[in-house]
């Protein structure tokens, strides 16, 4: 896929990847073998009929291709940009065994973007409504998908969102240069056209309890509140000034638009030398954001080697193109501050890789050597954990680990009528796996509500 020149793009927030041209899309679509038993579909958590949408693109029926995708996925422009396709649909493509797999993600994005460019009017939505109220907590990928699917089944759906904008991690987490906000807005508007209502600033568990929602006539609730609470390393110096959790750093820029301070009221500190700790997508996003805020030097400090980095391949490639330096096999042990309580350096252990651990990745161990990296900002991107607000407000909800909700594969929790999915049940994972969970839960809610009505009769 075409991308913008790294020298230019690393100092602004405009989108990096440019998408396929029509000619490229047609050429790529023609590479698809149209397998009778398509492996790609089984690699897709939201079960898109991939050969069918690609076939439509081949026939220049871009709008038709998009309709095929939308049957299963109401966020195609988002997924075409942020899915780790190499591990999913494209990872299963048979062409990948001998050469390159079909660029399914790029084609999905092309179909979604084509609609915007062609300014085609929305087809009117006609859904037979059943007027049964269902509630969705959290307007992130899991919640939006569950809500859209429930609305398509005829339910009267309300999403309750704690923040002042919908989108969840798509809005506060993923930066503009990777996923422009107007794309999210457009896809959310389309979900609203299915009849989904979104109430903002609504912290379920506090503004209203789940019990009160049931009293108001909601028959079932889907919890998709994500795993928003940042993990910390518990090393000295973590509370110094200019140590950020990636969640705060990215929220300031993405949700609050701190890059445009003082036009927007929320500030963010711009630093000269930045160390971002972690090797996932969030770490890449934070590093590339720090670069765009004007840093002279950005390091990614990661305790394993590049091969073990959990981020998408494309993200680390883009980061490297933007002159972000990978400092691998380095585990921070202390953040050193000056006399005013500001970061001045980070001390790390040099690591060596040993036998694989339970995750299958080779385990890093201290080599005994340490080094000091002089930086004036440290951003921690070592993962997120469950947010306690809603979970602790519900009696009898079974949880595991750090407060994640126990569910079966269809999202059923220990309480009938309460369903959950996405990061709040699995721990931090991907946008698309959360969407898959939302989709399965919507089906489970539908059968639960139908059984309930039968039982009443």
């Amino acid at each position: 896929m075409r991308t913008r020149d790294p020298e230019k793009r690393r100092r602004d927030f405009k989108e990096v990847a440019l998408g396929l041209t029509q000619a490229q899309a047609l050429k790529e679509a023609r590479r698809c073998l149209q397998c009778k038993k398509p492996k790609c579909v089984s690699g897709c958590p939201v079960e898109i009929d991939i050969p069918k949408f690609i076939a439509a693109i081949r026939e220049y029926d871009f709008k038709g291709g998009l309709e095929v995708i939308r049957k299963c996925n109401m966020l195609p422009a988002v997924c075409g940009r942020v899915c780790p396709q190499e591990n999913q649909c494209q990872g299963s493509c048979v062409l990948g065994r001998k050469s390159k797999p079909v660029a399914i993600g790029a084609l999905e994005r092309f179909a979604a973007d084509y609609e915007v460019k062609s300014k085609a009017p929305d087809a009117p939505v006609s859904i037979e409504q059943n007027s049964i109220k269902t509630a969705v907590i959290g307007a992130g990928p899991a919640g939006l998908t569950a809500a859209a699917d429930l609305a398509k089944l005829g339910y009267d759906v309300t999403i309750f969102e704690a923040l002042h904008e919908p989108g969840g991690v798509l809005t506060y987490g993923i930066p503009e240069f990777r996923l422009p906000k107007k794309i999210i807005h457009r896809e959310i508007e389309r979900i609203k056209k299915l009849g989904v209502k979104i109430l903002l600033n609504w912290v379920v568990g506090r503004t209203q309890t789940l019990d009160e929602l049931f009293e108001e006539g909601f028959r079932a609730v889907f919890i998709g509140v994500g795993a928003g609470s940042p993990k910390y390393m518990k090393i000295p110096g973590e509370n110094l000034n200019n140590v950020y959790f990636a969640s705060e750093f990215l929220t300031r820029v993405n949700l609050m638009k701190a890059d445009q301070f003082p036009v927007y009221d929320t500030p963010v500190k711009r630093a000269k030398k930045v160390a971002v700790v972690g090797g996932g997508n969030v770490a890449m996003d934070a590093a590339r954001t720090a670069m765009r805020l004007g840093a002279e030097k950005v390091y990614i400090v990661y305790r394993r080697s590049e091969e073990e980095m959990p981020c998408r391949l494309e993200e680390v490639e883009h980061a490297k193109e933007e002159v972000i330096e990978l400092m691998v096999l380095a585990a921070p042990k202390e953040i050193i501050g000056d006399e005013r309580g500001y970061v001045k350096a980070i001390k790390c252990d040099r690591m060596v890789l040993c036998e694989p651990d339970e995750s299958g990745r080779r385990k890093p161990e201290c080599s005994g050597e340490e080094f000091i990296l002089e930086v004036d900002q440290v951003i921690m991107a070592i993962g997120q954990t469950s947010n306690p607000i809603l979970v602790r407000s519900v009696n009898g909800l079974n949880t595991w680990g750090a407060g994640y909700i126990v569910t079966d594969n269809e999202g059923r929790t220990s309480i009938p009528g309460i369903f959950a999915g996405g990061d709040i049940s699995t721990g931090a994972a991907t946008v698309i796996s959360a969407m898959g969970a939302g989709k399965r839960a919507a089906r489970a809610i539908d059968s639960y509500v139908k059984e309930l009505s039968l039982a009443k009769k």
Binding site: Y172, N201, Q208, F245
Partner: protein, 282 residues
């Protein structure tokens, strides 16, 4: 969208507003706060719920006009809209039959203490309230406290009301003469620190309500983290009240000063825009 129903000036630079927010009012408990954003370009700031009425469906917020957002808030009038308010957030103040409690407030700290006072009195605790300020007119809600508390003691730096001196001097006397079970202090960080240092040798349980910088206020960003008892805690979901004997006050002060430069810049830009360059800088 939230409508301002009433507005009052309580002291120089201190206003209170009553806002229509029925769901928040229904669930507000002592110790809770809201996060608000005035408009689309605004920042999210936490403010304590100083009072609430379930029947009226309203909440009362108190604020001191010390920065851009609070100054802008102070310019809003009844009928105006606040775009976003989320809450109630934060832990409820733990309520028991403690016995004799002492509330210590400095300046705007009254806003946090008033609902705590009411909740303590609902449980039939005996409550002594000590309010301190620089000067008489900066003592907030004196009459409201007088109506509910068993005993109200005032201190001012200049002696214009009550005792001339600091709240800690009066608190010390109260602790020495009575069987105090709990102290709750809310106000400037240095005041809360002084209160905590005073009560520690007496072994009196002391809660302080912390006011670190917050962004989203629901435990997701970690901006509000404070060191309590050697552990990192998030004030928005684990606080805002903590054991005063365990709080790293210096760390809190350092973090509170982190954006001072930006805060000054934002305020200056706002004032300039407000008077379109015609007035002198304040």
């Amino acid at each position: 969208m939230f409508t301002i129903l009433n507005k009052e000036s309580l002291a120089p630079q201190v206003d209170s507003i009553i806002i229509e927010a029925p769901y928040i009012a229904k669930h507000a408990k002592a110790g809770n706060f809201v996060v608000l954003r005035i408009n689309e370009k605004g920042e999210r700031i936490p403010l304590t719920i100083a009072d609430s009425s379930k029947t009226e469906g309203t909440i009362t917020l108190l604020f001191q006009k010390t920065g851009k957002t609070t100054e802008e808030l102070g310019m809003l009038k009844p009928g105006n809209i606040i775009r976003d308010i989320a809450g109630p957030l934060g832990h409820d103040t733990p309520m028991h039959d403690y016995g004799h409690c002492v509330l210590v407030g400095g300046g705007i700290g009254s806003a946090t203490l008033f609902p705590i006072l009411k909740a303590l009195k609902d449980r039939n605790n005996r409550v002594t309230t000590i309010l301190g300020a620089r000067t008489r007119e900066l003592i907030i809600w004196e009459n409201r406290f007088k109506e509910v508390t068993d005993e109200l003691l005032l201190t001012t730096d200049d002696g214009s009301s009550g005792r001339k001196g600091l709240v800690t001097e009066v608190l010390k006397e109260v602790i020495e003469t009575g069987d105090v079970k709990l102290v709750i202090a809310v106000g400037p960080v240095r005041m809360m620190q002084a209160v905590s240092e005073l009560t520690k040798p007496f072994g009196v349980k002391t809660l302080v309500s912390l006011n670190p910088v917050m962004v989203e206020g629901t435990g997701m960003c970690g901006a509000c983290r404070v060191n309590v008892g050697g552990k990192t805690r998030f004030a928005c979901v684990e606080g805002p009240e903590f054991d005063g004997h365990e709080v790293d006050f210096q760390g809190l002060i350092d973090r509170l000063g982190f954006y001072r430069e930006e805060e000054a810049r934002a305020l200056e830009a706002f004032r300039k825009k407000k008077c379109k360059g015609k007035c002198k800088s304040a």
